[in-house]
């Protein structure tokens, strides 16, 4: 793929690494085990990636056919303010999801599942880094009322409970949540990134193709383990059930029910797997 890689100025890069040490201590396991789990893939890079070769023309909307903008000042105040809010929210979700995943990562019962989620987390860190690149490489002060350092500091200080979007303010209960989150919430992310790919602000649009390629794996890191679990349940594996531990319920609450069972330390209804 035709991608240009960029590193943040040292103070911002160091701020992200500092955040990682405190919020994502398992990060170091990824390079140590990369060749075991991803032998055919290029090594992970904590950097911003900009797609090269994207068109200069706006593809959709009122300004369709006009030239894409490359600076916040070219956008006008209101569009710039909205876009800034989107970039900050996007950054918040990336760092927020790492905080969520980290809490239950060690509870994975399968090493491959764990390292897939670990890779997802590292790539979310890169996506947050990408958003910081957008924030600090241009002057947003006209609409932000803040310096770049203050915007970065504000986002890095968020914790589960204070993030911009509610989905990132929930604590996980078990590793089931890591997987379900990747399968469901990252799917929302995929649609969001797809919309952002046609953004009239070129640096934002250029950020999306590399993120979308990574996001595709995030969905797989959710769907594939889920599929395996359901298959084991259907085969009668006594440790996995799709049946609620109490009264019958809708399929949506079955996963929740299993999460609850694991949270209590109980084995979900053994020997009662339902055929799916």
């Amino acid at each position: 793929m035709n991608v240009e890689q960029t590193t943040l100025p040292k103070k911002f890069h160091s701020a992200v690494v500092h955040w990682q040490r405190h919020n994502f201590p398992d990060y170091g396991l990824l390079p140590e085990n990369w060749q075991t789990y991803f032998p055919n893939d290029p090594e992970f890079c904590l950097c911003a990636k900009m797609e090269i070769g994207m068109g200069d023309t706006i593809e959709v909307g009122d300004k369709k056919g006009e030239r894409r903008m490359t600076k916040p000042s070219e956008m006008g105040e209101e569009p710039a303010r909205h876009l800034l809010a989107i970039i900050r929210a996007q950054a918040s979700t990336e760092f927020g999801s790492i905080q969520q995943h980290e809490g239950t990562l060690a509870r994975a019962q399968d090493d491959e599942d764990r390292f897939w989620v670990l890779r997802v987390m590292a790539e979310e860190l890169r996506h947050g880094y990408q958003m910081f690149h957008l924030l600090v490489s241009q002057d947003w002060s006209q609409v932000s009322g803040q310096k770049a350092e203050e915007m970065v500091e504000e986002i890095l200080s968020m914790q589960t409970g204070s993030h911009v979007l509610d989905a990132f303010n929930l604590e996980y209960d078990s590793f089931v949540d890591n997987v379900v989150f990747a399968a469901v919430i990252d799917r929302v992310g995929k649609y969001q990134l797809s919309m952002q790919k046609v953004c009239a602000y070129k640096p934002f649009a250029q950020s999306m193709p590399p993120m979308l390629r990574e996001e595709a794996f995030h969905l797989a890191a959710g769907v594939i383990p889920l599929r395996r679990w359901v298959q084991r349940a259907a085969e009668g594996n006594e440790l996995i059930s799709t049946r609620p531990s109490s009264a019958p319920s809708t399929s949506g609450s079955r996963v929740v029910s299993r999460c609850s069972a694991m949270r209590r330390g109980a084995t979900p209804t053994s020997g009662s797997a339902s055929r799916t």
Binding site: D41, L219, A220, G222, V223, R228
Partner: protein, 153 residues
Amino acid sequence: MTSTASDIRIRPLSELDISRIVSIDERLTGVYRPEVWERRVGYYLRRDPESCPVAEFEDKLVGFMFSDVRGGEFGLEETTGWIERFGVDPDYQGRSIGRRLFEAVKTHMVQNEVITIRTLVDKNDSDLAAFLRAVGFDNASLQALELRVGATA
């Protein structure tokens, strides 16, 4: 059931396609091997889903083609598109689905500055070779060689 090439929708691979790809492969080979396709689909999702088009008819996946843009393999420094796997549900063969999938791959390869598209075909698979020749492939000067070093196949 009848369908025409225009009824077929081509889109990039997604993680939800694994089950149907496993089914198509099982129908083509007689072997049920979900773990193989989980690995392969996972790999291609990480690489570039857009280089792996799938064909849908009435929301049902009926064909797939997995390819990849690389460079530097076997001393070939030029940017090369490699077609690794493809398959069409036997119930939907004969409707130009393979050709539509290949055209999608070719378009994506051209956009990614690929110079040559390459693949390997078993000499005994004359149907596959005929399909590839029909979409424009020709003999290459490269020859595939192999040396078995394991006790079993």
